[in-house]
Symmetry: C2
C-alpha cells in the first residue's frame, strides 16, 4: 500500500450495482487508493438517515491491491460511518458519493441519500462531494461527464474544502461538446407539488405511491443551480451542516424569549 496516494471512500444511494457508482470509481482510481462501501439495495430518498433499530452487516465483494469494494445493509450515511469506524478504522482523505441517477439540485438536496453521505463526511471535516447526473435511467451513459468529474475531484484534492463544507455537483444529461462549463451556484428555491397514486396490494388493501412535479420558485435567477443546469452548465452548490437561520435569531428574541 502506497501511503502517499490519498485514500478515497466512495459510496452512493442507488446501491452497489449501480452504473453511476462504477463510473465514479473509474475516475477516482486515477487519483488514489479507492475503497467503496455502498448500500446493498437502492436507498434513494434516505437523506441523512442512520440505522438505529437493527445492527448493520457488510460484505467484501472485490479486493485488489489498491481497491476494495464492500456492500452494506445500511443507508448512505451508515456506509460512511461503518467505513470509517469498522472497515478502515481510520478516516479517508476524501469522500465522493454517486454518481447519482437523477437530480439532487434545488430542494432535492434535503431528501438525497447521495448528499446525506457527503454531509456525513463534512461533519468530520473530510472533504466530500456528491455527484448526480440528470437522468434516472439505470443504463444512462455517464462517460460524457467524466472529464468534468475528474476536474472537480482534482480541484478538491489539491485545494481541499472549507471546514464542514461539502459540494453538491449536478450534471446535465447532454453530449460532451454541449457543456458550457462548471458554475458555482446557490440551492434554487423550489419544492415538489405532490399527490399519491392509490393502488391495492394482492389482498386488496389500499396503498399509496408518492408522485410529484417540481416547482421552481426562481426560474430566472442566474445564480441558482436549476438555471445553470437548464443552460448546460454543471452546477456546484457548497453545502453546510449548520442549519441555523441566523437572521431569525433577533426576530425571535423580540417574542418574549431570553437573549
Amino acid at each position: 500500500m502506497n501511503n502517499k496516494k490519498p485514500l478515497i471512500l466512495i459510496t452512493n444511494d442507488d446501491g452497489y450495482k449501480a452504473k453511476g457508482l462504477r463510473c465514479l470509481v473509474e475516475v477516482a482510481r486515477n487519483f488514489g487508493r479507492v475503497i467503496v462501501v455502498a448500500p446493498e439495495i437502492g436507498r434513494s430518498g434516505m437523506a441523512h438517515a442512520i440505522t438505529m433499530r437493527v445492527p448493520l452487516t457488510y460484505e467484501l465483494i472485490e479486493n485488489q491491491d489498491d481497491y476494495e469494494f464492500y456492500s452494506c445493509s445500511g443507508t448512505p450515511a451508515d456506509c460512511v460511518k461503518i467505513a470509517r469506524f469498522q472497515i478502515l478504522k481510520q478516516n479517508p482523505d476524501f469522500i465522493f458519493s454517486g454518481i447519482n441517477h437523477g437530480s439532487n439540485a434545488s430542494i432535492n438536496v434535503v431528501y438525497s441519500g447521495t448528499m446525506g453521505a457527503a454531509m456525513e463526511g463534512s461533519i468530520s471535516n473530510i472533504p466530500s462531494v456528491g455527484f448526480s447526473l440528470l437522468s434516472h435511467q439505470p443504463d444512462a451513459d455517464f462517460s460524457q461527464a467524466q472529464k468534468y468529474i475528474a476536474q472537480i475531484i482534482e480541484n478538491v484534492i489539491n485545494n481541499g474544502l472549507e471546514p464542514n463544507i461539502c459540494l453538491n455537483v449536478n450534471i446535465p444529461k447532454i453530449s460532451e461538446h454541449a457543456y458550457k462549463g462548471i458554475k458555482i451556484c446557490h440551492q434554487t428555491k423550489g419544492l415538489w407539488k405532490e399527490s399519491y397514486i392509490e393502488t391495492a396490494d394482492p389482498w386488496d388493501r389500499k396503498s399509496y405511491w408518492l408522485k410529484g412535479d417540481y416547482n421552481n420558485l426562481e426560474p430566472e435567477n442566474t445564480q441558482s443551480d436549476e438555471w445553470a443546469l437548464a443552460h448546460n452548465y454543471i452546477a456546484i452548490v457548497p453545502v453546510h451542516i449548520d442549519l441555523t437561520h441566523y437572521n431569525s435569531i433577533e426576530i425571535l428574541k423580540k417574542q418574549g424569549y431570553e437573549a
Copy 2:
C-alpha cells in the same frame, strides 16, 4: 367542524404509541383541531428520508369531533406528505412534531426524524416546530415542560414564522421549578465520536451496532443550544432548508470555475 380553529398536524419519529406524542397532542388540543399522522413503528434517525421503493399505507386509530389519529407505514416526512396530499387534501395551518424522547440539539438535528417532519412543513411555508425532551426513557414524565410547550405553540400561532423557517425546541429533563426560561440559540458545533459493537445473529453472522459519545466543540459558547440546555434553559434554534454555504461561493469561484 369549526373552521375558525387552526388545523394542527402532529407527528413524531418515535411512533404513534409514544408517550411524548400523547403529551404534545394534549397541549395542542387547547389551540385547535388536531390531526395526528404518526409512524406505525419507531423511526428515530430517519432524518428527512422519504419512502420511494414501496407504497405507503395508513390506518385510522381514533376519530372524534375535532380530533383524528392515524398511523402510517412511512417516515416522519412521509407522514407530513400523506396527511397533506391524501388524508386531509389540504394544508394544515401548523405542524408540531414530537415530543421526541431524546435530544435533537447540536448536530443531532441532521439525523432527526422529528426535525425532518418539521423541515418538510417549512418547505411549504407551514409554520412548524419540532419538540424534544432530553430523556430517552419511554415512560419519561413530560408534564413539567407542558407550560413552556404551550407558550411556544401560542407564540407560533399568534406570530407565525419567517418563510421556510421551522423551530428546533429542546427541553432539559429537570423539575418544573428549575427551568430558567426559553433561550434563542444557534446549533452547537459538535459531532459524535463513534464505534461499532460487534454482535452475531442466531446463525453466527457478524453484525454491528452503532454507538457513540457526543463531542461538544464549543462548550463555552453561551449562544449555543447545548450551553442553554446545560444551564437549565429550553433551547430554540431557528432552522432553515437552504443548505447553501454562501460564503464559500466566492472562494470556489477562484478555483477556475464560472461566476
